[in-house]
């Protein structure tokens, strides 16, 4: 398909999570008549149930629209919807890379929010043209003038003449389209140069295999071409190329400046990694496009089926999710307490939560998850170095010469009134102050070096609650450093429960041990004997709680009319016991394992 590059516009939408990003996307699709009204349903682009519910986009989506502008010419508009969370920053970056412009949605009632800023700066950093629009002008509390001024002050882009719109009510959507045509530059690139296509996302399709979502930067691609992934080196024969409408529409050819998908009988998304460059195997480009990173999991946890017999089903489910998520890793592991399960690796905590939720919702599992862990570098006395992502595998104390933990460089952007609160939080989390600078007169950027294992325990939640949601946060790996780390074990009636062990900083061990012991005391039901719960470092007990022995389990009355109900209760009692995990002599309900993951009050 040929279409003059001058009449192509590739853009994305940047918005605070609930600022109507999907609503605007739907309106644009609507206004350009891309989708028949019959097929329209709200928030067309957020396809996963989970995405709709959380109001966040996990996978990138895209849609091609044709729009005849006021100048009488027809334009091809490619909207790329980006993921929206710090765990997926890399994906966001790649998606932005595929665009020349970004529509920035600003809420006329709220002004600019921190979460939006992080992505705006990312877009500015990629030299994207920002097209601000002021949304929700239909609300009585809307203050478009004040908000427009705020955008100019904070972001430093012209905004006073930005379209005033209501995505919900469909007001002034036409004006947004005009701005996109006028302000977003046409793509550059050479159709006749060797193929360079940026993979900005990938998706597993049951019929087509793993699809590469691409922006063609140079050259062209069509069915029958042999393509090569420049970083992984894999080669494939193209079986289909197409565009998003937002469904799949096969086309003859994709050429420089265009956005679409390539299907090439690729078995899993891990063979078509985000950020990789696709070239033509016979006529290859000299070099891949810049910016590729092989993203590695940095948070691990054990995932076990609550019902041990569902182990194989859980593996099938993880494999299915893995088809579509190159960042998810999993390997079988066994736990004395939990039986057979998987050690899973994630990009971050949100990624972990999303996978757990999808397993529970889409695959209907009851899961037990262990406390998240980072990867520790353990130097042994015999000179070996081992990487440990599971506290249970930590060598014995006398075999450890040195323990090193992953460090990140964290950047926290915040309105200035929360600087004190954030500094307190970072100190609590063993952060090392690096720098503070002002982004403008009201906003500061704080830089800290922090151990990653402090961040994976409710740092994000604490940050949000202490700054009423205004602070945004991003981090990047910054190597390893020696830490005074200990393995904290929990003993139930004298028997250690491997699934509860964590690696923590020595100074935090006491508070953590006490807190978990208290949680366990409340979560473990009384049993026929008293259960001491002990937190221990090595052989040393640092906290103790007790679950008192059960004193009675007998119903006072049972006559003719009570028998059926009573029998059901006894059946339930037996069922409940069967679902409990045996740790030594103690019966542990699944909830007890979950309780210790949520340590905040």
């Amino acid at each position: 398909m040929t279409f003059e590059k001058e009449r192509i516009r590739n853009f994305c939408i940047i918005a605070h999570i609930d600022y109507g990003k999907s609503t605007l996307a739907d309106r644009l699709i609507d206004e350009t008549g891309t989708v028949d009204a019959r097929e329209m349903h709200d928030q067309l682009l957020d396809t996963m149930e989970l995405e709709q519910e959380r109001g966040i986009t996990i996978k990138s989506q895209a849609c091609r629209m044709f729009y005849t502008a006021d100048d009488g010419k027809e334009y091809m508009l490619n909207l790329i919807d980006t993921p929206g969370h710090v765990d997926f920053t890399y994906e966001v970056e790649r998606s932005l890379n595929a665009c020349e412009g970004a529509v920035l949605i600003v809420d006329a009632t709220q002004g600019v929010q921190a979460q939006t800023l992080a992505n705006v700066y990312l877009a500015v950093g990629q030299n994207l043209e920002i097209v601000p629009v002021i949304n929700k002008i239909d609300l009585v509390s809307a203050e478009p003038e004040r908000v427009a001024q705020e955008v100019e002050d904070i972001i430093g882009i012209p905004c006073l003449d930005a379209p005033r719109i209501s995505a919900k009510e469909g007001i002034n959507i036409h004006e947004v389209l005009e701005r996109i045509v006028k302000d977003v530059p046409a793509p550059k690139g050479d159709e006749d140069a060797p193929l360079q296509a940026l993979i900005f996302d990938s998706l597993y399709d049951n019929y087509k295999g793993a699809l590469s979502f691409v922006r063609i930067v140079n050259g062209r691609v069509r069915v029958g071409d042999t393509i090569r992934m420049m970083h992984s080196g894999h080669t494939f024969d193209v079986t289909e190329v197409g565009v998003f409408t937002p469904g799949y529409l096969p086309v003859e050819e994709l050429s420089a400046g265009q956005v679409g998908y390539i299907s090439a009988s690729i078995k899993t998304v891990s063979e078509t990694r985000v950020g990789d460059t696709i070239t033509n195997n016979a006529f290859p480009a000299d070099a891949p496009l810049p910016g590729y990173k092989r993203i590695m999991p940095n948070v691990y946890c054990g995932i076990y089926p609550a019902d041990g017999s569902e182990y194989d089903d859980l593996r099938d489910a993880l494999e299915k999710l893995g088809l579509n998520d190159a960042s998810l890793t999993f390997e079988p592991e066994t736990s004395a307490a939990l039986g057979y399960g998987f050690r899973c690796g994630f990009l971050g905590l949100l990624h972990m939560e999303i996978i757990q939720e999808r397993l529970e919702r889409e695959f209907d599992f009851d899961l037990i998850t262990t406390a998240p862990s980072v990867i520790y570098e353990v130097h042994k006395t015999n000179g070996d170095v081992v990487m440990i992502d599971n506290p249970a595998n930590l060598p014995k104390v006398d075999e450890i010469a040195e323990m090193r933990e992953p460090i990140v460089k964290a950047e926290i952007m915040t309105p200035k009134e929360y600087i004190g609160a954030i500094m307190d939080l970072c100190i609590e989390k063993r952060g090392e102050y690096l720098d503070m600078r002002y982004a403008d007169e009201n906003r500061a950027v704080l830089e800290y070096r922090m151990p990653l294992n402090e961040i994976i325990y409710d740092f994000f939640n604490s940050l949000k609650s202490r700054t009423r949601g205004y602070a945004s946060f991003d981090y990047e790996p910054a190597g390893y450093q020696t830490g005074d780390l200990v393995k904290l074990d929990f003993l139930l009636n004298g028997d250690p429960c491997d699934a509860l062990s964590v690696i923590v900083h020595r100074e935090k061990a006491y508070a953590h041990g006490r807190r978990v012991a208290e949680k366990l005391r409340d979560a473990i039901p009384r049993q026929l004997f008293e259960i001491p719960i002990q937190a221990a470092i090595g052989g040393k007990i640092i906290a103790r709680e007790t679950v008192k022995a059960m004193r009675k389990d007998v119903l006072a009355k049972c006559y003719g009319g009570d028998i059926t109900r009573k029998k059901k209760l006894l059946e339930k009692q037996k069922e409940g016991k069967k679902r409990m995990r045996q740790v030594g002599t103690v019966q542990m309900p699944s909830e007890a394992f979950l309780a210790v993951l949520k340590l905040e009050e």
């Binding site: 026929l528 059960m550 004193r551 009675k552 389990d553 007998v554 119903l555 006072a556 009355k557 049972c558 006559y559 003719g560 009319g561 028998i563 059926t564 009573k566 029998k567 209760l569 006894l570 059946e571 009692q573 037996k574 069922e575 016991k577 069967k578």
Partner: protein, 370 residues
């Protein structure tokens, strides 16, 4: 022998802890209710009956005439055994000597008095319709009418109750010289007024330790006074255990008549509608019928049998189910014998004194869940 239960779902007022099907202040419906009851009974005309129980609700709300009439109907409709045990529940507030005489001459030979407490404060708190003085009058009426078998119902483990106060209640109860005493630990169903008060923290129930202390005190005190415990909550002078209730725990047949009544008859459990209007108008008041499988029967035989001090009759079990009891329950038996919760003697499997505190734990382990 089959038991016969007739439910009288009317009370002068509803008690604060009551989760039974009973209607307060609707006695005007009694005549039509009794007609419906007879209509239902007709479907069982001629059945051989070993025990009869008028329960409630408050059967003593019936007038002398209604009592006479219902008794006559029961004698006419059913084939009563010569040694039939025939109990009528009575609330002290509605007991009169005349009603007692009417019952006795109608064939009733056992009365169960719902005393619940002997203190006016506690009675008021429980929402009972009677006073201590009325209880004394009622006991007198029962005795002078000539009943030689009668029960006193008591509730223990009440909010704020001390072991000492409960000990005194027991002593006073024994002084009335009933032949049978039932002592129930208070069950606070969340749907009842007491349950709601407990949920809101307005009352504090005894904890498990305190409750057990009172229960153990009950067992000791009554044993010393000659009352043998024969079920978790039931005590009787020798020869005075309630045969009608034992029949439930031995999984015998029983016909339950009336609103919300349950039957177990010829292998099927039947539950009547709990709705009074529906019971009065429906041609067939049955709401649910369930045919018991062998597994149901086995499970009920064990969990009900264990409630009795005598225990589960092993030979009868093996005969009825053609199973080797010890092999069939090997693991549950071993676990609970080891814990000291069970013992086996004279062909019966029964709970030990300690095991009685954990009756449900033991019973659950005998359930055959897949």
């Amino acid at each position: 022998m089959t038991g016969l239960y007739l439910h009288i779902p009317f009370c002068a007022q509803k008690c604060a802890y009551c989760d039974f099907v009973s209607y307060g202040g609707r006695e005007s419906l009694l005549p039509s209710y009794l007609s419906a009851l007879k209509r239902e009974a007709e479907t069982y005309r001629g059945e051989k009956i070993g025990t009869v129980f008028f329960g409630g609700g408050t059967p003593s709300l019936m007038s002398e005439k209604q009592i006479e009439d219902l008794c006559a109907f029961v004698r006419d409709c059913f084939d009563l055994a010569p040694d039939v045990e025939w109990t009528m529940e009575a609330n002290p507030a509605s007991v009169t000597k005349e009603k007692m005489l009417a019952a006795l001459s109608g064939g009733v030979n056992r009365v169960s008095l719902g005393a619940q407490s002997l203190s006016d404060d506690v009675l008021a708190f429980l929402g009972r319709a009677h006073t201590r003085a009325q209880l004394e009058t009622a006991v007198e009426a029962v005795k002078t009418a000539g009943f030689d078998k009668w029960n006193l119902d008591l509730i223990t483990a009440l909010p704020g109750q001390t072991a000492e106060a409960w000990g005194n209640t027991l002593k006073e109860a024994i002084a009335f010289a009933p032949t049978h005493i039932s002592c129930y630990s208070l069950i606070c169903d969340p749907q009842t007024p007491l349950g709601r008060m407990a949920a809101k923290g307005e009352i504090v129930l005894p904890d498990d330790e305190q409750e057990r202390a009172m229960v153990h005190l009950t067992e000791q005190t009554l044993a010393r006074a000659g009352y043998e415990q024969y079920e978790i909550s039931n005590f009787a002078l020798p020869g005075h255990a309630c045969r009608h209730n034992i029949n439930y725990w031995e999984c015998g047949d029983y016909i339950g008549l009336g609103c919300a009544a349950h039957s177990l008859f010829r292998g099927a459990r039947k539950r009547n509608t709990p709705s009074l209007p529906r019971y009065l108008t429906a041609a067939d008041p049955t709401e649910e019928t369930q045919t018991l499988s062998d597994r149901d029967k086995r499970e009920e035989r064990v969990f009900l049998g264990l409630r009795m001090n005598r225990g589960v009759d092993i030979a009868r079990f093996e005969r009825d189910f053609a199973l080797d009891f010890h092999a069939f329950y090997a693991s549950a038996l071993q676990t609970n014998l080891d814990r000291g919760f069970l013992e086996e003697a004279e062909g019966f499997l029964r709970l030990t004194a300690r095991g009685r505190d954990f009756c449900d734990t033991v019973a659950a382990e005998f359930m055959e869940t897949a």
